[in-house]
Amino acid sequence: MAARRDSVAITGSVLGLASLLFAWLTLKPNRLLSGTGLELWNSAGWDDTVIILVLWSVCLGLSFAGNKRLHAFVLGVLANVILIYTFVLAGHTAGNLLQTAPQFARISLGAGFWLTIAAAYILIHASRRRLQDVRIWQGFITWSALIAFVVMLLAGCFDDLAIMQEYNARSDRFEQEFFQHIRLFVQPVAIGTIIGVLLGIWAARSRIAEHPIFFTTNIVQTIPGLALLGLLLPILSALADDYPILEDWGIRGVGPAPAIIALTIYSLLPIVRNTFVALRQVDPAVINAGVGMGMSRFQVFYSIEVPLSAPLVLEGIRIAAIVAVGLAILAALIGGGGLGFFVMEGFNQGASDLILVGAIPIVVLAFVVDAAMRLAGRLATPKGIAAGES
């Protein structure tokens, strides 16, 4: 078979080469000013620049040339090598730059760095596609750079970068707000699941209930997050005034309660909709077969409908969870804490790296929650259906 070009890999390689043109690190005289961007050759030196240039060029070559599995694997390995090299270089160069910089100078990561990461993962994605039947190779190229990154992070290799300096100054508070953020999305999704699944079942069973349920959930979904919070604040304050017992339960105008209520409302639509579709798409013939076998209504539900609809319902919960992880950022605006606290603090102080201290963990958390829920979905898919799909 003639060598096929892998256009995704080509895109990744070209992007990787282009990333060299952008500022790689930014040197700021203090954490407030925007500073000047430094390209790779101005910060790390020409030697490292040439090495990275060569690596990307080889990747580009491989993207044109090979369609064998080995080529894909080498491409993936090279991408990981570039990533790890970039990480090490970033930490090391930051340290060097700080030696000769004024006292409160900060080194931030520039566009070039982020583009490098994006390009490398495009390459890894392209390689993964061609390595579906060799899971070990595929796993190796997926996880190596990530594991190396975590190891380097814990070892303090990145401590000279502005983000880590901001983090280190407030690591206790970060831990507190991180767990608060988890509470801020787990609780609404949990409550939303219970209410949403019940509403979904009701809508699926009853033609009359279907319309009002979807009407309501659709409408509230369109209300922007901040607006919904703004609406809830006075309502909850008034309720807490009239019924003091609510205050004892922690439900009042400020704090996490309005945020959790708003997030619960936003979780409803994906869960209700998916439960509804999941139940409706169960083949009536299967249910008839069950009834024919003598199953009671409850047994039909438990043995047929639940397993068949579980994957789709879990998918809905997954979507709700990811939305909640992101929206929970708003809780900080009303004293509810969470990672949004650092985003707000960074914004108020004009310190962009502090914003990243809040924003990047939220992105990582979203990925982790997504992966965990996908795994849960795969586990919950009955064997028969899974076999049919793959």
Binding site: A240, L375, L379
Partner: protein, 317 residues
């Protein structure tokens, strides 16, 4: 069997999220025979966090059990929280009495003592809220310009600025909506010093964020060369800006002071004796330097507060 293993797997994943979310870090029961608990809040800004941290540390030093709710929310939220009893105290500015009680036109706010007396009186009457002693630092509105501009055009005060603007000098001032429209702010400067900025010379942003405005002036973003600033801002020098002086005293005086629920003072009158000396020690340069440590050096408010209180002798060790 397989089905049960799968079910178990799903439950483990879901339960682990629950367990993580149940980890309650803020179960800090100090459990001693301490007084309180006293809930201290603040606005979201740097200085609010700093002053609240000082209050918390000095109260704890004196045997109180304090709940830290610093950076509670925006001014409106913090006020509501105090008035509803959700927090017991927070640092507020004397000049804000003009807006709380709708007396913006009165001149009493231009005098530090008169303004303080007025707001203390009104708060006591209307909400049973006590104002403790203020810090002698005027955190009022100001205009900051880049050092190069100040040196090139010889601008030190707002009078010089007015002459420069009227003489056709390039001016682009960035400020919040409130700063540009409130009679106590920019209009007050314009009236006192005899200059008017047209709408092309103004860049209005929605929040009152001086970090943003000062950064814009420092970097000349969008042609901006003058920024709204606050008197005790710590980052002015670090950004290469200078604050124009206000010799005619056009601005109301905004001195920070703790605003405390009357019931708390009634129950623990010794609080006044504990907190007052701290605030009285905070002059303008002191506050600017402390704010600079937070804004420019990136230290957190609690650490800066602790360092200061130890060096000033309010905290042991």
């Amino acid at each position: 069997m397989e089905k049960w293993i799968r079910l178990l797997g799903v439950m483990v994943i879901v339960m682990s999220l629950f367990i993580v979310s149940a980890c309650d870090d803020d179960d800090d029961t100090s459990g001693q025979e301490s007084k309180g608990p006293i809930v201290v809040g603040s606005k979201i800004d740097t200085e609010g966090a700093l002053l609240a941290s000082m209050i918390i540390l000095v109260l704890e030093e004196n045997g109180f059990d304090v709940t830290d709710k610093a950076q509670t929310g925006t001014t409106a939220i913090v006020r509501a929280a105090l008035e509803s009893g959700e927090i017991d105290m927070y640092p507020e500015y004397t000049g804000n009495g003009a807006f709380f009680f709708d007396e913006a036109d009165s001149d009493v706010w231009k005098d530090a003592q008169a303004g303080y007396d007025r707001v203390a009186e009104l708060d006591m009457e209307n909400y049973n809220i006590v104002w403790l002693e203020p810090a002698p630092a005027n955190n009022t509105w100001a205009v900051a310009i880049p050092q190069e501009l100040a040196e090139a055009e010889n601008l030190a005060s707002l009078e010089d600025f007015a002459t420069y603007a009227n003489g056709g000098g390039h001016v682009k001032l960035i400020g919040s909506e409130e700063f540009v429209t409130s009679p106590a702010a920019l209009p007050s400067f314009q009236e006192a010093y005899g200059f008017t900025l047209s709408s092309d010379q103004l860049l209005t942003i929605s929040g009152g964020n001086t970090a943003l405005t000062e950064k814009a002036a420092a970097e000349g973003t969008d042609g901006v060369n003058a920024a709204m600033a606050y008197g005790t801002d710590g980052q002015v020098a670090a950004l290469g800006l200078v604050i124009l002086s206000d010799p005619k005293g056009a601005q109301p005086v905004y001195e920070p002071a703790p605003r405390v629920r009357g019931e708390i003072i009634a129950e623990y009158p010794e609080i006044a004796g504990i907190i007052n000396p701290v605030f009285e020690s905070l002059g303008l340069e002191t506050l600017q330097a402390l704010n600079a440590k937070i804004a420019v050096e990136g230290q957190i408010a609690m650490d800066v507060a602790e360092e200061y209180l130890i060096s000033a002798g309010f905290l042991a060790e």
